[in-house]
Every structure is written in structure tokens, then in C-alpha cells.
Assembly symmetry: D2
């Protein structure tokens, strides 16, 4: 009963096999190999973006920070959600890679950026010329840190606001696959067609060991990205081993199959939690469930070895004797552990 995070899961067998296979052939280093080229081809096809440039790194923080550095000069601000990973969980990596840009926080339900909040924040920027942090870029997360999913319409609205302000949009897609499955929309509609300039497409949390693809829909940024990646120490000499993971991930729909499983397990878990009389928070979307348990329920689960994190909610004070928690399902979550968890909760 492991619900701490999808990063506690292992690698999918297909991905492990791809690593072994990649090892059999020698290859030129630093991405000058056929597997890396094939990843780019696969991404271009899946995203209907024949000009896109695709670069591999191995952590989400690196992907996000490098992407933001390409989109936002040091004297500007990144408009992001109050609960965004780039704000909360990257130890100032965006500030480091941009050379000192500022993250300006915008509220919104389900850790989505509220469109009007974005308009207001942009309007408040740079009223007195050189003195203020300038308008830089927008950063959104799909699916969000609270497991919610932006609809295609919501994405397009964010994109339109940014375009009107003359600034680009970054998407943290650590759990992009989970969002694709949930929305049943095309990757193109969810990204460049909605105005996204760079997508950081995660694989690590969804079946890879360590592989993230940074997709530049505008190839004009490619060379700068390459220099920034190298300067950040994120250019792998044996790139083919990262590429092998991403290649397998994107082959024959593996990425969607794995995400679909995680989402389904989260749905099953949410239904079980509610059936057990516990509250489920937040508009559900991807592979996470935010819930509130009674202290008794919590103790029973802990005693049985269930693993998950407490996760504070704004209204916790009104519910003494209860614990708010985050439960994350992954590609390796099993039906039995979900059911056993729910049974313990209901007992």
C-alpha cells in the first residue's frame, strides 16, 4: 500500500529492456546517436510538430529550470501558480538558471492558474518602466500539483492571455501523460495549439528511471537551450541510455498505457475512499487523491503499513481530530493494494 508518490515506483519492464538493448550497440556520445534522433522523431509525430526540437535531461527540476531560463530574462517575472513545483519544490532552481528572475504567484482552484488572476498580475507589471521586474513568461503545470487537469479551453485561454501580453508559456508536464489520458485530447491541442512554447514532458514518474524530454515547439531556441543544458551539467555523454528510456516510453503508446493504469487506480481509490465515508478534496483529475481521514482511520492504515503523506488543506482547522492526506497512484499500483486500503478505511 504505497501511495507516497509516483516517484517511488520502479521502471517499466519495457524500459529496462530498452536499456539493455541500447547497451549492445556502441554509439557516439552526447546525443549523436540513432536512439536520440528517434526520440525526436517520435515526439514530432505524437505532437504533430515536425519542426520541434527535443532535448533529454534526467530530472524534472532541470527540465523546468532550463526551459524557464530560455523563456524569461533575469530582470523579468515568471507568472506561476501559488502551489507550483517551480515555486515550492525546486530550491530556487528557476531563480538560479534564469540568473535571478522572480516568481510571481497566482492563485486558482486545484492549483490551476486563475485566468483573471493572470490578467491582473500581468496588468500590475512594469507600470513604471525600468524599475519593476518586467513581464517574462507564464508557467503552468499539467496535470497540476493537486491532481487537477486544465481543459483544452482553459489552456487556450491562458495561452491567449500570454500571447496578448507578448510573453511565452512554459508547461511543466511531469504528469502530462496522466492529463492526456484524462482529457482524451490530442497532445498537440494540449500544447502548441493552445499557445504552449515549451513542454517539459516527464517520464520518470510514469515508468522511466530518469528521463524527461524538453520539447521546444519553436526551434529558434534550440542552440541556446543546448548551451544552457551543457553549462548546467545536464548533457549526458552516454545519452543513448536516456534516449532508450524515452524511446520505449513513447513506443506503442506505453506512456498512455502506464498513465491510464495510474489514473484508473486513483479513480478506484477515490471511489473507495468516498464509499468508506471519508472526504475527497479537490476536483479530481489525474492520478492523485486528496482526502481527509478521521484519526482512527489514519491510525488503522498506518498500523497496517500503508504509506502516504499528510497534506495540509485550507480548512483543516474546522475539522479537529482529522488528518488531510495525499495519495498517489502509479503505473505499479495494484488493484489489491487499493482495495485493501479502502477496506481498512471502511472497517
Amino acid at each position: 500500500m504505497l501511495f507516497t508518490s509516483d516517484n517511488a515506483s520502479g521502471a517499466a519492464p519495457e524500459i529496462l529492456a530498452a536499456l539493455a538493448q541500447a547497451n549492445d550497440a556502441g554509439a557516439m556520445p552526447y546525443g549523436n546517436d540513432p536512439l536520440t534522433a528517434r526520440v525526436e522523431e517520435r515526439v514530432r509525430e505524437i505532437f504533430e510538430a515536425p519542426e520541434a526540437k527535443v532535448y533529454l535531461v534526467s530530472t524534472g527540476t532541470a527540465a523546468n529550470a532550463l526551459a524557464l531560463a530560455c523563456l524569461c530574462p533575469p530582470w523579468a517575472q515568471i507568472y506561476c501558480q501559488t502551489k507550483a513545483h517551480v515555486e515550492w519544490d525546486e530550491c530556487n532552481a528557476p531563480e538560479f538558471y534564469t540568473g535571478g528572475a522572480k516568481l510571481t504567484l497566482i492563485a486558482g482552484e486545484g492549483a490551476r492558474i486563475d485566468a483573471q488572476g493572470l490578467r491582473d498580475a500581468i496588468a500590475a507589471s512594469a507600470p513604471v518602466g525600468v524599475h519593476n521586474a518586467q513581464k517574462g513568461c507564464v508557467s503552468i503545470t499539467q496535470a497540476t500539483e493537486l491532481g487537477a487537469v486544465y481543459t483544452v479551453e482553459q489552456l487556450a485561454e491562458i495561452g491567449a492571455i500570454a500571447r496578448e501580453a507578448g510573453i511565452p508559456v512554459h508547461m511543466d508536464g511531469t504528469r502530462f501523460a496522466n492529463a492526456v489520458v484524462r482529457l482524451n485530447a490530442s497532445p498537440a491541442e494540449m500544447t502548441w495549439k493552445a499557445g504552449i512554447d515549451i513542454l517539459c514532458l516527464g517520464a520518470t514518474k510514469n515508468g522511466a528511471m530518469a528521463a524527461e524530454a524538453v520539447i521546444l515547439f519553436d526551434p529558434a531556441m534550440a542552440w541556446e537551450f543546448e548551451l544552457r543544458r551543457k553549462r548546467g551539467g545536464h548533457l549526458f555523454s552516454k545519452m543513448r541510455f536516456v534516449a532508450a528510456q524515452m524511446d520505449a516510453y513513447l513506443t506503442d503508446g506505453l506512456w498512455l498505457r502506464l498513465a491510464g493504469h495510474a489514473n484508473a487506480m486513483a479513480d478506484r481509490l477515490a471511489a473507495g475512499v468516498e464509499a468508506a465515508g471519508a472526504t475527497v478534496h479537490q476536483a479530481r483529475g489525474a492520478n492523485m487523491v486528496f482526502a481527509r481521514f478521521s484519526a482512527t482511520q489514519h491510525q488503522r492504515l498506518q498500523a497496517a503499513g500503508a504509506l502516504y503523506y499528510p497534506w495540509a488543506q485550507g480548512d483543516d482547522a474546522a475539522h479537529p481530530g482529522h488528518v488531510s492526506v495525499r495519495l498517489v497512484c502509479s503505473h505499479t499500483t495494484e488493484v489489491e493494494e487499493v482495495d485493501r486500503f479502502c477496506a481498512l478505511l471502511a472497517a
Copy 2:
């Protein structure tokens, strides 16, 4: 009728005379001169801080950013007020000089940091170890950007919260002289006795041409400060000309006399504005008046050549047909221009 900002004022005659006098004697460069040494002595005496180290720079942004860089590592956060100059008016200079620290914003009345808000923000920091921006330092402004003044008790409370959290406190004292006059407290009580580690003592807005003193109450930081100042391009070869300004400023109470005049003019202006039936916003403190005029009043003043800036307030929407404004008095504001302004307003 010049009320745009105290930085639109000129230099006090005593300060201009000091420059001419400093020119008559040759001197070693880079602060190795008697005037610079005398400034340090004056500051130590006025602040009852015989160990303090004092460094001169020529803009408030430089003073603040260099001070914050000494107090906050790049992976940490600076707790400051939502309307702080370091957040709004320095084009990411704090982020630049710290190497990418994050400014975490705390609300509060009159642009003062709310003590409970500070406690909450500190408590929310670094719950998951290395992932979050760490606790760095607190930054407050005295008098604030809205002209309010922290009481000695309020300062001590902020200082105690910081000390308990194990982090230092920076004070942006661009208008520190105005606050001293208003509080009628000792500079020591308002700074190191209340837990302030570095004060940026402004002179530029209050009678100098370009002179700010960074006062390190803990001399252990001195060498690092000196290196940061040089690396930032803020070490003057002919330092004696900056020192001459600050020396004259601190001699025979000139700094308090100038600030006292500015405060008195603001009091007279506030009284006149209210007498004319216009609203005065904010708890008043130093040399600024925030007010709301009817459109008619505003047009009449503008037509008469009065200079001031519009300044949005949170409740403007509820007052259609009105204009919110900021009026700043300085050491050169004259009684007649205040009275003429108020007469126009009341007409």
C-alpha cells in the same frame, strides 16, 4: 507644488558646501581617507554601536541588494512586505545580488509586515528538507513605502521572530531619518537593540546628492561586504565625495532637521487635504500623504501645475469619479506650496 517624490529635491546647502571643501584636500582613493573614517565614527556614535562597520554606496537599490546578499544565501528566501521596494522597485536587483534568492511576500497594514504573517511564512518554509527554498532573512522598511512607521515594539517583535527562527534582519532605511523624527526614539532602539543586523541608511532622498550608508552591526560580515561591493561596481575611487555628503548629513543633526521639515510639511498637507474634504488614506507616519481627490479637484490641481503621482488603492473601484494619489514632501518643500495646494483643493 512638487509632490512627486522626495528624490526630486536637490541637495542641502551644507552638503554642497561639504563637497567643495572635500575637494580642497587630496586624498587616498577607495575610502582610505579621513572623511570616510569620520563617517564611520559618527555612525558608531549616533547608533551607540562602537563595533559597527559602515560602508558607503550611492543608490538605495545597491545598498539593499548588497546587504541582502550578505544575509541570504542563493537557495533561501527573503521574507518581505508585499509592497516593499526590494520587491517592487528594484528590477530584481535582490535576486541578482543574492544569486537567485526568492522574495516571499507578507501582507500587513501600511506596508508593514504583519507579525503573525511572518510567523506563518517562516513556519511554511522548508518542511521537506532540501526541496524548498530555505529560511534566509527578513527585510523590513522604516519608514515604509506607504509612509507608515513601525513602533519600537513592532520592530522588536519582528526581531524576536527572526531570532527565534535563526535568521537575520535587514532594514531598508531609505527614509529612516523621517522615522526617527516621527518616533522620537533612539537610532539604537530602532535598529540593533530591536534585532536589526544591517541598516541601509538613506541620505539621497533627504538632502544628499547620492549617498547611502550600509551599517553592519555585526563586523564579522565586513570583508564579505567589501568584496561584494567592489564586485558590484559600487566601490568609488574618489570615495571622499560620497563621504563628504554623509558626513555633513550626520553633523549637528542636519539629517533630523531635514527630515523633521519634510514630516512637518506632510502633516500640514494632510491636515489641509482633510480640511478640504478629501480623504487621507493609510495610517500616516513620515513624509508622505496618500489621498483621494474628486476628478474636479484633480483637474484643478493639474491645471495649476501641481505635480504628483496617481497611486492605486484597494478600494478605488468603490469610488468612481475619484483619483487616488501619493503626495511626498521633502526637505525643500515650502509652506507656501503646501498652502497653495490645499487652497486649490478646497476651492
Copy 3:
């Protein structure tokens, strides 16, 4: 006949097997897993350093840049060799991670730092106080970029010079295993006993996919290193997969066995090259051979599909009609390809 670089080699079977094995067990993320702990234990034992802290990253550039940032403040200089990887092959990553430190270049035979050159460079530093870049740290590479190896005595001399100057020493150990095998000295003697403060121990070029260990012999720097690693985007969520590689690498002497093979192949190659009448440059040491071929030899090898890089030498102008080249052997170099290469050369 693949002699371009040891980074063109694949992974050792033991390391691939370790990855698969690591996948079978779930684990807490970010290095809070038993494999990561075991790596630290192995390093402590091998280096006779029971207090050392050990951190894993996945590129040599990241390891070096993070280590240097811990050892050198932004206003100081890193004394390194003219041909050092940190100077030539990291696209300003050391400058980026240190926040703008300066690399001061010191010549020396075989890409080793000349001891007297180091003394002179340190003596030339900071003569006029705050104006100059300060003394920061020394950085050396073992084995060097030209395949040479510092003797234990040479290391101790560098260490003593640094200690006398009050500055620490970083060792880029991308090919440290090759140096250990060549010197037949203990890892402790070659590092902390000689005054090395941080060793970046490479595995990637010698049998891993992507794994480098940063060894802090002084544990006082540990927390800062952890924050810098996270801020640089180099903290892996599924750390156990990096740890598995390093653990296998250090188990049962695999690292030395692989390096020993590479060194032996280079020895065989050097002997064959000389037997064929071609010149071998540089004091040989580790797994590289720098040689000069006639144009005819070069063309014959190229035509047969041999892969290697041209590598300019200082005296090339005196040898028209010749080509200087670098040949690198790895853990996967085979006797037959060496012999075939030499036979072609001699033909």
C-alpha cells in the same frame, strides 16, 4: 577499432544487472534508500574515510561544478591547468555554479599543474586587497586530460602549497580508477592524505551508464552541497538507479578491473604504435595514447574504419604531412581491435 573516447563504450554487464535488481524493490526517493547508503559505506571503506559524505550525480561536469562551487566563492579564482576539463570542456559550468569565479590557468607537463607555477599564481593573487579576484581553490585532474598521472608525491606537493595558502583542493577524478591502477597506490594516499578536499569519482567513462560520486572528505560541507545539488536540478527522485550503478562499480574491485583492462589496452596500443614507427607523445599514464601518424598511415586507418580524433600538438608545424591524434581505450576495448589497428599502422 573505436578509440574516440571512453565515453563511447557501453555499460559493464555487472552494472546493467544491478539496475535490473534495483528495480525489483520499491524504495523511498531522493536517496533515502539502502543502495545509496551502501554506496557511502563502500566509499568510506575504500578511501579509509569514515566521516566522508558521498553524493551521486550523473555527469562529470555537474560533479566538478558543484564541488567547485562549495570550495570557491564568486569573487575568487580557481587555479587549474591550462588544458583542464573544467576550463575547456564545460561551457562555463564552473563559472555558472560558483556565481562567477575566475579560472586562472597554470601550465605544466602532461596537463599536470606545475608546482612552481601554482606557487607563482597564488603569489600574484590579491596584492591590492579588494580589487583583485581572491584566492579560491586549486583544481587538478587525476589522471589528466593528456593521460598523465600525478604521483603521490606530486599530489602531496600541490596539497601542501594549497594548505599553506589557506585554500582547498578539488580533484576531477573522471579517470581516477585508471590512475589508481597505474600508481598502485591507495585511494586514501591519492586523495585526503595528500590534501584533497573533494574528489569527483567518475564511473561513467569506466563502465557505468551515468554515475559520478562526489566525495566530501570534510562532512561540514555536506548540507551546502545538498542544497546546491538540488538547486542545480541534479537530485534524482529515483536515486537508487544511480546508486545501483555506483554500488556495483565499487563491489569486488570491478572499478579497478575495468580500468586495469583499459590501461593494459592503452599500453599494448602504445607499444604497437611505436613498433610501427609512429611517435607517441606525452608521458603516458592511464588509458590514452597521443601519437603522430604520417598522412598515409592516417588515411589507411580511416579507410579501414578506425575511429579516433585528431588532437593538435604544440610542435605540429614542424611535422608537415603528419597528423597528431588521440586514441582512448576503455573497458570494452578488445585485444583484436588494438592489434588490427597496429597492424594497419605498420603495413
Copy 4:
């Protein structure tokens, strides 16, 4: 007998008077004043550059570092002379402002960059793509740190090399006025006509208190420069006081008159030194004399209160019992102190 540096001199009377005059008129802050506009007009006229943008700062280090940051991205290298001020005397300010660019050193007589050395250094850059520091910009000093002056032809050669390499050129003109007087060439010929993109025109060492003009011959860089200046804390609120200095400096040829005097005093000093039998080093050019005195001469001068700095020369070891020194003349150097100095030397 003050020959330590031209920064030990005071301000010219015309400049002091301009400050007093500037104080009489109120003015909008941050350079939105008539004096700042007039400085730009004067520079455009003197340099025959009607499109140039001109920005004022108050230290040479700030001017150079801000200019270099506009010309060189963080992953590139600045080609400069081994003895350049940007390398030796700015405590890594160029590295700080560029975000970590690398200074690549090129030798040459008289602290001038050797043209062939520059060609070689550029040719050695970026041979392996993303791995190396990229080509950034060239930085030269006119007059140089050793008092030499580039001829117009030498400047044009440097400019042509840079243009061919596709990189811009920065000129540190701390003593530009001294060079203009010496060459008797037009400021336009010595700058943009020779391929200079940004000139940092110094006034501080030649009669101002603290005033340097950064001249962007390509106005396309203007907005970025303004943001960088503000972010660096170098935007003065009371800009008119810096502008007043520069305006007076450039009015009626004051700048050339002051520099002409300093040069003439240096010529007289050099002649006297040689007449006294002491050696004068370096190709002379501007207002500095590098000489070698016997220990007896040195002691006699010191005893008489002469002030100057020892300055090591490459061949000092061959002249035991002697001292190499630097002597700098300024706009305030008097004939009598030169003659008295030479008389003491000859005694």
C-alpha cells in the same frame, strides 16, 4: 609630489561649479532631466554618432561590467589583454554581471592586445560545439593599463578581426581623453569607425568626482542596458548630478584640456627621469610613466615625501638593488612637483 594614481586628484573647478548650478533647478529623477539629455547630445556630436545612446554610471567597473554583459552571453568568452583592468582590478565584476562568462587572456606589448594573439585565441574557441565556452566579445583598453595607446590602425585591425569572427568589441576608455590627445585623432575614428560597439568613457580620473558614460553606438541594445543598469543598482535617482559633471566635462573641450595637461606633465616627468639617468619602461603614450630607480634614488624620493607605487616588471630579477615604479600624472599635477621630483632623482 603625488604620483600614485589619477584617481587621487580632485574635481576640476568647472565640474564643481556645474554641480552647484544643477542644484538650483528641480528636476525629474532617474535621468528624465534636461542635463542628462544634453549629455547625450554632446556625446553624439563629439563622436559624430547621431543615433548613439548614452548612459551614465559612476564607476569604471560598473561601466565595463554592464557593457560586457550586453555584449557577451554567460556561456561565452571575453577576449582581453593579460593586464586588463577587467581581468585584474574588478574582483570578478565582469563574471558577475555577465552571469559567468570567461575572460580569455591575450598577451601583447604595452598591455595592448596582439592582433595575431587575438586571431589565435578566436580560432581556438569552440572547436567542439557545445562543450567549449563560445566566442563572446573583445575587450580593449584605450589608453592601456601600461599607458600605451593603440593607433587608429591598430584599433581598426582589432575591429576587423572581431567583425570577421562575428563578435562585438568593448572599449574600456577610463583614460580615453588621454588617448585622444595623444593620437590627435577624432573620437569617431578611434571608436565606431574602427569597429567599437560600446565605449566606456571615463571622466572620474580626469576631473570629475564620479562620472562615466557608457556609449552604445548601436541603439538596439539600449533597453537591455537600462534594465541591467537598474538591476545592478546603478540607476541614480538624482541623475542630474552625474549628468552635470559629464556635461561640464564635455563642454568647451574641458575633457581634452585636462587630459592634455596630464599628458604633458607625464612627458615632462619622463624626460626628467631619463635625464636623471633612470630607465623609463614601456612605449609611452598617455599620462603614465613606468620607470626603474636605484634603491638610493627610491629612498631619497620617499624621504622627501614623494608618493607613488612600486610596479613589478618582467626583468626586475636582472636588476638587483633597483625598484620598478609607476608614476601617474593628472589634471592637477603641477610643473613644480614634477621638477622637484626629477631634481631629487638626479641629485
